[in-house]
Symmetry: D2
Subunit: 403 residues, 4 copies
């Protein structure tokens, strides 16, 4: 009987967008899935007392505080769910693991490889579950893709083609935000959305990226300060008062995988017309899969077997036999973005109960961060670029890498 399972008491740290999403996920999961433990939202931790109280009331958390250490120290808390900005992750997670708590930590795992590795070490020593929130792994279509690849239906992988295209910054007068400030955000499109592509690619293929050749680009180098209009807050008040953009608008890199695949990655927030095209295509010698999050309920699958009628199949990943989908609606009735988080909550609970392995582990997330670091490092050597000869110097047309 569902209602008699033991509780799993959650403390959630963070009252922003992700805090609300996680709250919704913890509450929704047990209504649609049979879980071995019942997640019980217990303590909400915020930053400012008023906002924290308001969030707790609205989201129905019975207790709240502004001191995250209280959550770590209380014996009646089982899980620390970290939804705070990246620079705070390491400290909280390390304390939580040391206190024996299970930890769910939003991506990026940390703001540096060193921190991430320290967290991974701590997780490997701890007896509790430590999971990082690369939520796209819980898209049913991508989970199905992984199963198909693992079953050999794509064969030996040659190509990984991953694009994460957004356009909310394509207007040069879109206002400045903290995401455009390197000190606060750490990275731009690369870390924000490119990180998802990297994790997805490595997870789907079961291959790690071993080398990259990268370019980062900032097309719009300053943006108007966001208007601080009383009671409104949000629109740009004065386009002549501009703040510098200190992160990348776009990242592009080729990548080598340890299993032999060749990767081509692109992440941008200036791809006009593309709202959230988190795409990946993988081609092997036996087949291929293709995905675009703008149509998250579909997976395109190609089978190279001989047949007079071959072509990419548009699979609606909404059947009872598909990952996660059986818990939801009749076939053809799609899921939305938040289901990724509900599925994440489900898998977290099941991992705590020992039913399934943890995925992604802190080690997985650290590998993503190593790739991000290599991309940044590669992009810093722009002299590596091979220049195209010009007609002005026709005498040595084939020479001339000036680096």
């Amino acid at each position: 009987m569902t209602t008699t399972t033991s509780p799993l008491r959650i403390a959630l740290i963070g009252t922003g967008f992700m805090g609300r999403m996680h709250t919704h996920a913890w509450r929704t999961a047990p209504r649609f899935f049979d879980l071995p433990l019942t997640p019980e939202p217990t303590l909400l931790v915020g930053h400012r007392p008023d906002a924290t109280a308001e969030a707790a009331a609205r989201w129905e958390w019975p207790e709240h505080t502004v001191d995250w250490r209280e959550a770590v120290e209380r014996d009646d808390i089982d899980v620390i769910d970290i939804c705070t900005p990246g620079q705070t992750h390491a400290e909280i997670a390390l304390a939580a693991l040391a206190a024996g708590k299970h930890v769910l930590c939003e991506k990026p795992l940390a703001n540096s490889v060193a921190e991430a590795e320290e967290m991974t070490d701590a997780a490997s020593r701890a007896g509790s579950v430590a999971m990082c929130g690369f939520s796209y792994r819980r898209t049913p279509a991508l989970t199905l893709a992984r199963e198909l690849i693992a079953a050999g239906r794509v064969g030996e992988i040659r190509h990984v083609r991953a694009q994460y295209l957004q356009d909310w910054l394509s207007d040069p007068d879109a206002p400045h935000t903290w995401r455009l400030d390197r000190d606060r955000a750490g990275s731009g499109a690369l870390g924000d959305i490119g990180a998802h592509s990297i994790d997805t690619a490595q997870w789907l293929t079961g291959q790690d990226i071993t080398g990259v050749s990268a370019t980062l680009r900032t097309f719009v180098t300053s943006r108007p300060r966001r208007g601080e209009v009383e009671g409104l807050g949000g629109v740009a008040a004065d386009t002549s008062d501009r703040l510098p953009v200190t992160v990348d608008d776009a990242a592009a890199f080729t990548a080598h995988f340890d299993g032999g695949a060749l990767g081509v990655f692109e992440a941008t927030r200036l791809a006009t017309g593309r709202r959230n095209a988190n795409r990946i295509e993988i081609n092997g010698d036996r087949g291929a899969i293709a995905f675009d999050f703008e149509r998250m309920n579909e997976l395109e699958v190609y089978d190279a077997a001989a047949d007079v009628a071959q072509g990419f199949r548009r699979v609606q990943v909404t059947e009872a036999q598909h990952p996660y989908a059986g818990a939801w609606w009749p076939v053809g009735h799609g899921l939305g973005y938040e289901h990724l988080f509900t599925h994440q909550a489900v898998d977290f609970v099941r991992a705590v109960a020992g039913e399934i392995p943890v995925s992604p582990t802190f080690a997985d997330a650290t590998q993503v961060q190593r790739v991000l670091a290599a991309v940044e490092q590669s992009a810093a050597h722009d002299s590596i670029l091979t220049t195209v000869a010009t007609a002005a110097a026709p005498e040595h047309p084939l020479e001339g890498n000036p680096s």
Copy 2:
């Protein structure tokens, strides 16, 4: 009256696939377009006498020969149309230009930048028309894309995303062909199909590529010798008798354009499931265009202007107001691959008559070749690649570009 225009007498060199295509184009063009001169197929030049005679009979060429110099030397020939393998282009084109002939030369213009530059110099000195056969420029949808970009509807260009994906080599036992032998083909996917992407990208944007960072990859390093079965010819007879593949199967590179755009290019013949996906997407601050040759009659167009209903429009480029389309069928009745060559013939004739500028010039084609050379050069420096740190050496996670 169409039938009273002066003749433009053609000598075509080459009896292979492209020879047939050009023949069809020269004959079809005046039946559907009003031309200032009437192309008159006059002399077909082949390699072997028998095959040449047979082709001439089938394609209805009144005269034929196996000596291309005869075509160049005859006074009653106006145009030399070169459809031979790349290594012969320079010699023929230089002779033809010296003799005052108009020249249409298939791509690649030559097999080296040096040859290409010599041909460009000759063309610039000649009073005749010299055009290179990058036929995709004659796709109505791409011509429309160029007009929209030129009219400012895409705005300042940030992204160029070009993929040319085929899969006819994805089976490791697909038989060897001359295209996989560096000595004969010069290059693999890069030169064969990547060259089209490069030309299209530079032509659409009006920007030249100035630098690249590239990777080339050969996934299948040997392939079975094609069976020489009497009367059949074509299927692989013995998969244990394998020949080495000495060109790239796939190419990937990032590129910088002189106008500030960032390019990501990929060309492969192992993208399982993609038959001929010659794709390009361009994003600017005012809009975007996207194209895939697998749906050659469509152009996707995005307008970033404020509206409650914005999104990529699927434009069927078959209206009377669209480039070339008015000469053909009612709206919605599409064109096929060979129309590119008919349009090329039309534009060549009009350029000869001085009605429109030559496009692409030999100089345009030489710029493509320079980019190809830079890609090959960049790919040869694989040490440039930045390695991803490994967990085995966590003490220096951010170091380690070994180059």
Copy 3:
């Protein structure tokens, strides 16, 4: 402050799929929308005591009962939410309205036009809100479509093309269910899914259907009894033990709208390959819209204004400016099926508070039922069909409607 709004106390009748969906909606709505009243799930009404208790526990309803009259009679209940089978709707709704309750009633409103009209009369006399659950009206893309049509962007409507295609019954050995029994289900594909198309079409166009010409078809006239395997329940145990199918598998009809539009409707559960293709396209003299629920986050919009680049736009209806979407995720992050119910809960609450009109009213739902009745009636006169002459009787090829 959200948490200080007055409560709106709900009694929900029904513990099946729809009961769970409505529960989820009542709980989710106030977490994402600022509502004038706070819905408060108060009393769950079921049929069997055990199942009702279990559902109440799992879905966190504080009280439960198996007597729906208790809900109607209690003073501390504001809303009766009816999620029971169709034949019970009229009795419950009439009692609830008489008791002054607000009523949300699942579709179909009733199992006969007479009952529906009685309910409509009662609703028009009552001072409370009475709404029918045609939830597709709450699809953001369809709501946007209606706004565009109302704003004149489609112009004078000529065509309505509505298809509701499913395939869960295409296998002739798919097991029998109560939905295939006329006594229990009332109707087959027509009433189950065709009713949605009718409501959507009338609502989008603002036009009522005044006449129909219809065909109903049962392709598979018997189906295996569903296996009652202990502990499993669901798969067909014995395909030789078959029960008759007494409802339609498919319905097709043409329709005249009072505003002059011509409709073509089709509903089927045997359209192999179509999971839940609830499609509608509307063409007017100024533009068109097209929708398919299999891609519920997209609306295709065509503008007939002169432009060199016209075509259907794929609008992702996920922008802050779009109906309902602003309350949810960043642009491009789609919604799923259950959001229709959350939006329905939101609109119900707002209608109770007098902020927006009720939609759909019981009168709207009754008009749907009248169309369904006309379809059944028309289909019963199959002799109306005009026969195609045969070669066997060529002497009178144009005569011969035998009706």
Copy 4:
């Protein structure tokens, strides 16, 4: 050797759009296909001497005349290719068949069922080939569809869903043409484009339509007289000078097939945004196919066999193994509209040589005409329509079919 095959001497009657298309087809066919006979354009027959002479010169017909009887009477003519308006077909075809000529006759076969049946009788008595030009049968994707259906991959057919949607008349001020005059055109959207849907549906399924229930509609009842501006000709000069539209703008009908399938057909020239959407979908118990001529090189194919990854496959019908496609370009390089006519020429020549059966026969075309007649007849009985009850008469809501 191709060039040594016997000639097949053609006389083509008609110098309009279709005349040009057929000319192009006769010339192109032998250049790309190995044919048992070589079509030889011999005599062009027109209406006005000047226009005929000009067409003959431009299209390179060696002889021309304005007397079609000359073509029928000459011994050195093998084929009469009829591209004239429908009302002339019967007389010419009967004379040609009587003279022992092979006949290719454009659709519609005739303007009445009686004429069509007379032609069919004549064809059945003649020893020569008589074929009707329903050219869509030669679309490679549709030919493949037929082969898949014949091979059982769709199984028992339940649904036929055919739409032919165009929009060139959606503007109420689009000028009048002869196609809108019943005396000249015979029919509107129904006969012009709906006829194609009917032929395609019957041919694909191998089932004849036996009964229909139809509606015809004229939305725009008058249109401006086309301006006869000197030297331009074509645009509407004066929108106040309007001519009546005496044919249907749109047709909609349900149909019963003799094999049990249920058809839903719609043809319109006012479907704003749809340029030439000649669509058909067929659902059976084992699979489905779907086609849209706007993407004529693609066929969507669904296989209902159990698999975790099922969905419609987008098959690019451009492979060497596909119908007709092997004669053309490499895979993925599409064909256009005129290839239908080239394939028709190929099949006609092969039928003359006895290699393949004639398709479509005059009998097939006559069956189409019988369906068209039944549709017109059904639509004339609009009283058959079942009216939807109104709220004004709630006492008898279920009555009222006036038939």
